[in-house]
């Protein structure tokens, strides 16, 4: 007991040191962003197809706002395809300009703040997950106090990965709205993971984040599955069978009390609470949207121009996704067929099987879903990659044995550097063609798939290893 106390004291000290370092690094990342924002003249980042898609481009948003100010529908002319709420929030910032040019500094400030906020929330989420990881290992009897130090502060790591990821930095200074979309996703996860009091989750916050994220980019709607699991079953844990084994082994009263808590049933009440709040927020958002679009065709117009635009893949301008080229080449009569196949592919072949296989790790499911949607999205940008990469960092403890990490890392670097080169070869020099850029996009998608596949298999291996270890302990 005494030893444990001493350990705790040391740990607290270390924690303080860690948090000190975390804040230094996050402030440094903020300064770094400001530095890039202040010298943007040389590189016109906001026009890069890797950073701004038709959905996330701030230039298009400014255009939409201008149309709206001129009492036209912001969606007229197929320029703007985002949310009307974002238009009302960010639109006014885009017009305050000096000498006729709209001032991007104010918007950039919003993006930097949202990045920092995301990082802080991610850190809190990670701390909760780390605590749960520690607790679970202790319950399984695999974690001795002396080995406690091997556990990494995954919250800090994830937050710093988010802040210092070149993808995040580029999409933050490249004037795309993806930092705000990412923030909404992180808010929903934060709401579902952290608790206000002992058992009460921040259900309304989770529902709000989910609805906002869905409203902004549609694809995070898939997160409803992991969120329900999170609220129903609790945080990520090893498979429940293991706990049962441990409990059978040790009939100690103190341990018993602990293990009983792991046997939590599915919390229908919390989930219903969540569903209620989801309904409330969605009605709220819809009402706001319909108010702001009252003269311009109302909600129907919005659904057609935003979600319809996403699902129909109307804009075939090049991006780092895999669909634009395909649909540019596909015959018109087969277009609908392929659209349905591709959009359903994601739901049938990825969402459900994974939800079944990994239901004890809802946060990890959220990561996998986001990664898949960033690969198979209709208009992906590197901002989406930034989000799932930082969520991945929440599981560094579990994924220490991930295979081929160096290979995948090299692939990511190679392909993200190759992308502007191929674009240049095609657009500016004219010596390459669309195949060059699309080949790069396919290579990038390949590596993303490989990354997700390796992460999932490493997670399953981790569970396997835990099972082996507990079995050994039972034998002894």
């Amino acid at each position: 007991m005494k030893e444990k106390k001493k350990d705790d004291g040391e740990m607290a000290e270390e924690l303080e040191k860690n948090s000190y370092r975390f804040w230094i690094w996050s402030i440094a990342s903020m300064i770094f962003r400001f530095c890039i924002i202040l010298f943007p003249e040389n590189i016109n980042l906001s026009s890069r197809p890797e950073l701004s898609t038709p959905l996330t481009s701030l230039c298009r948003l400014a255009e939409g706002y201008w149309l709206k100010q001129a009492s036209m529908s912001p969606y007229s002319g197929s320029m703007y395809h985002g949310s009307p709420l974002l238009l009302s929030l960010l639109g006014p910032l885009t017009v305050h300009g000096i000498e006729g040019q709209w001032n991007h500094h104010l918007c950039s400030l919003v993006f930097v703040v949202s990045d920092i906020l995301s990082a802080v929330l991610l850190r809190a989420t990670g701390q909760q997950l780390e605590k749960a990881y520690r607790l679970n290992l202790r319950r399984l009897g695999l974690l001795k106090a002396s080995r406690d130090r091997g556990i990494l502060p995954c919250g800090d790591i994830a937050a710093l990965v988010y802040l210092w990821n070149p993808f995040t930095i580029l999409s933050c200074v490249g004037l795309s709205t993806s930092p705000i979309e990412n923030l909404a996703v992180i808010v929903s996860l934060y709401g579902a993971v952290t608790r206000k009091q002992l058992f009460e989750r921040r259900v309304p916050l989770a529902a709000f984040g989910l609805i906002m994220a869905t409203h902004l980019s549609l694809y995070p709607a898939t997160l409803v599955i992991p969120l329900i699991f999170l609220l129903g079953y609790g945080l990520d844990a090893p498979p429940r069978k293991l706990f049962l084994q441990t409990r059978d082994r040790e009939g100690e009263p103190g341990q018993d009390k602990l293990t009983r808590t792991t046997q939590l049933p599915f919390l229908w009440k919390t989930v219903l609470h969540f569903v209620f709040w989801v309904l409330v927020w969605s009605i709220y958002v819809l009402v706001l949207c319909s108010l702001s679009l009252k003269q311009y065709g109302g909600l129907e117009e919005m659904f057609k121009r935003t979600y319809g635009f996403i699902l129909n893949i109307e804009d075939l301008s090049p991006n780092i996704g895999v669909f634009w080229y395909f649909f540019a080449e596909a015959f018109d009569f087969s277009r609908n067929y392929f659209l349905i196949v591709f959009q359903i592919y994601m739901f049938l072949s990825i969402l459900l099987p994974l939800a079944r296989r990994l239901k004890h790790r809802p946060c990890f499911i959220a990561f996998v879903y986001l990664a898949f949607s960033s690969i198979l999205k209709s208009y992906p940008s590197v901002g989406d990659a930034a989000l799932y990469l930082s969520l991945w960092a929440l599981f560094v403890n579990e994924l220490t044995d991930m295979k081929h990490s160096f290979f995948i890392f090299c692939g990511y670097i190679g392909f993200s550097l190759l992308s502007p080169v191929m674009h240049n070869l095609w657009i500016w020099r004219g010596t390459g063609n669309a195949n060059f850029y699309y080949a790069n996009a396919m290579g990038y998608a390949c590596f993303q798939f490989m990354f997700v596949e390796e992460s999932v298999s490493a997670m399953l291996n981790h569970d396997q290893a835990l099972k082996k270890a507990t079995a050994e302990m039972t034998k002894n």
Binding site: M402, F406, F409, R429
Partner: protein, 696 residues
């Protein structure tokens, strides 16, 4: 890249688990085999890469007209003696005009043009100073900015004449450029005006023209390139601000800039000093910035017409010093002998070429590679390439003295017939040039090596890098697991992170060093290039020292962190591989030359301490070789050696200054080679040095 590495690991895992070892797939086994024998294979592959490079002149194919619409030489020339005498008259008038100092020559040329029913206008432009914009490579020419302050002291005036095509819709055009120094142009320069004006007088009458013809007489007082670039910039990006330049002179240029649609092709004509031979020599220059070439069809058309119709002696640039080199002669003779032997075995194998032809081809290839690798355009045609226009420079060296009237007439006739034929071919085009190659290297005016062939040499050269990286990675991981048992257990697959951090730190340093010249140029006061290079050197080394002292970043503190040099080398090689592959897409020639330097350096780099301790001949030899390679690999020393080889003589103290001037020219021309040197070559070289002196 590390795919092989992956297979290796897969195999390991299987045996570790004790599960039944299933036989891996053939490709996996091949990968494992390659990685396991990587030293042998790396030597074989590198040698094959060098051999393939030497074989390239043999593999060159004859050029052919790929686009059917061109049909060069199928129409009879309509150019008459009258047109040629028009040209002669202009040349004579210009001479008289100059002698009598009657004012601006531009006016005279403009008058001539408008007599030929052309729309004429004058464009004023400002010579641009040396600006540091290496990153402009990634952005298009749209980011061109006009200089704010304008002085009337120095500016140039272009004269432009446009003939509207009777059959055209004004949406397409062909540009003819004659660089001409209006102040002190020589007799030979007058001849180029004569040729084009003969042609112009014909084109104003013909009915078959369907693309507008623009004749740009570029004021070459400030170099050939700048006036053309200025005209193109205004042609493509109209500025709505009234430039202050307009007020500078009585020559009114305001408000009359005319355009004529998309430029389909451009021909730049220069007449240069007398050729050594009796016949007229036509040299073709095609390299634009960053190794970009115009479509091969354009060169083919010009070459075909010049050789088969007009009887010019056509040549492309070559490295003259290579023509007399004895080792190349030996290589050529060996290839010739091998070709003969192969021919006796099977008469269908016809790859042997005579040694003399081989030497000629190699010299041309070397020159092509050199000018592409520099990334500096070889003439004003480079400016067109920025707007995706295919353009070449034709430099004609007449075989007669400029005052020989009799031959001048004939010369005008042939020169303008050549241009007429080319324009007629381009005039037939329905789309822009796309049929033939854009990525190729010339070995003679009628022989080329396409991208599919020359990439083999590069691929063989760099193929050894991923293999060696994989095998080193596996070795390093094993060694690390042995030495530090506890910490390694936790991070089985993340052992490369420390090494990656160091590699990243040095690449960051490389990036900063690359950007430093921008700040050095901002230092107030006049500094000689030598001083500037000294400034650069000192700041860079100071930065290096700072980086090395930061714990965690320095490769020398790796003992504390538990990295061993094998992993560091593996990560270095991976970085070099990525960098070289990227560069090979941007500019093949740079990547090829860079790979010739970097690949052996990276492969041979090994800590010299154990080698010195062991005192075995083999390891000492290895250490010596890597030391030599590292010394050669340093950019400044390589620069000096190249200068020596080219024959300019080794320079002593002024080396720093010359190196600075050279680099300055690279970034002023937006060459990606500069970025390559700073961000790929230099960091990898530094890392190799770190591995050499690794305290293991």
């Amino acid at each position: 890249m590390a795919a092989d590495n992956r297979y290796e690991e897969e195999e390991e895992v299987r045996t570790d688990d004790g599960s039944p070892i299933t036989k891996p797939r053939p490709i996996v086994r091949l990968g494992i085999f390659l990685v396991a024998h990587s030293p042998v294979f790396s030597v074989v592959f590198s040698a094959a890469g060098v051999l393939a490079l030497l074989l390239l002149p043999l593999l060159a194919k004859n050029t052919y007209i790929s686009e059917n619409a061109l049909m060069p030489g199928s129409a009879r020339s309509m150019l008459s003696n009258r047109d040629a005498s028009d040209g002669s008259k202009l040349v004579k008038d210009i001479k008289n005009f100059r002698l009598n100092h009657e004012g601006q020559v531009q006016r005279l040329i403009g008058k001539y043009m408008s007599e030929m029913v052309a729309e004429v206008y004058y464009q004023k432009f400002q010579p641009e100073g040396n600006q540091f914009h290496p990153l402009h490579f990634f952005s298009g020419p749209a980011s061109y900015t006009l200089l704010g302050n304008v002085s009337c002291a120095s500016y140039g005036v272009n004269v432009v004449g446009i003939i509207r095509a009777p059959r055209g819709d004004g949406k397409e055009s062909i540009v003819l450029v004659t660089p001409y120094d209006f102040i002190n142009g020589g007799d030979y320069e007058d001849l180029s005006l004569g040729i084009v004006s003969s042609l112009f007088s014909l084109l104003s009458r013909v009915t078959w023209l369907s693309k507008d013809i623009i004749w740009l007489v570029a004021d070459s007082r400030y170099g050939d390139y700048r006036p053309v670039a200025a005209w193109l910039a205004e042609y493509h990006t109209p500025s709505f601000k009234v430039s202050d330049l307009l007020k500078c002179d009585e020559l009114n240029t305001a408000d009359n800039f005319r355009r004529a649609g998309t430029v389909a092709a451009a021909l730049i004509l220069k007449v240069d000093g007398r050729s050594e031979r009796f016949e007229d020599i036509l040299s073709i220059y095609a390299d634009a910035s960053n190794g970009q070439m115009p479509n091969l069809d354009l060169i083919n058309v010009v070459n075909y017409l010049a050789v088969h119709r007009q009887g010019f002696h056509v040549k492309v640039e070559k490295v003259v010093s290579l023509l007399s080199s004895s080792w190349l002669k030996i290589v050529g003779e060996i290839f010739e002998a091998v070709g003969k032997v192969a021919n006796t075995l099977n008469p269908d194998w016809k790859f042997g070429i005579p040694a003399a032809e081989y030497i000629e081809g190699s010299a041309t290839l070397a020159s092509s590679l050199y000018s592409q690798a520099l990334g500096i355009p070889t003439g004003p045609h480079g400016a067109f390439r920025d707007y995706q226009v295919d353009a070449i420079t034709l430099k004609i060296s007449p075989g007669f003295p400029p005052d020989s009237k009799a031959r001048q007439h004939d010369f005008f006739l042939r020169g303008s017939q050549l241009l007429e034929g080319t324009i007629r071919s381009v005039n037939n085009l329905l789309e822009k040039f796309h049929q033939s190659f854009f990525l190729y290297v010339l070995t003679s005016p009628s022989k080329f090596i396409s991208v599919g062939v020359y990439m083999i040499a590069f691929a063989l050269l760099v193929a050894s890098l991923p293999m060696v990286a994989a095998s080193l990675y596996v070795d390093g991981c094993k060694a690390l697991t042995k030495s530090t048992h506890n910490s390694a257990e936790n991070f089985k697959s993340w052992k490369w992170l420390d090494a990656a951090k160091q590699v990243f730190a040095l690449h960051l340093l490389g990036f900063i060093v690359t950007l430093l010249p921008y700040f050095i140029c901002q230092v107030p006061g006049q500094h000689s290039p030598r001083n500037r290079s000294i400034m650069w050197g000192t700041t860079s080394s100071l930065l290096l020292v700072t980086f090395v002292t930061i714990p965690g970043c320095s490769p020398f503190s790796s003992r504390l962190h538990g990295t061993n040099w094998a992993i560091l080398k593996s990560v270095t090689i991976s970085a070099a591989f990525i960098g070289l592959c990227l560069m090979s897409i941007i500019n093949f020639a740079t990547a090829e030359i860079g790979a010739l330097l970097l690949v052996p350096t990276c492969l041979l780099a090994q800590p010299i301490k154990p080698a010195l301790r062991s005192r075995r001949v083999k390891s000492l030899l290895g250490a010596f070789c890597s030391m030599v390679l590292v010394t050669i690999g340093f950019p400044v020393i390589f620069f000096a050696i190249t200068k020596g080889l080219v024959g300019e003589g080794l320079v002593g103290l002024s080396l720093g200054g010359e190196f600075w001037t050279w680099l300055e020219s690279l970034w002023a021309w937006k060459s990606a080679t500069y970025l390559y040197i700073g961000m790929v070559h230099l960091p990898c070289w530094l890392l190799c040095v770190c591995i050499l002196f690794h305290p293991s």
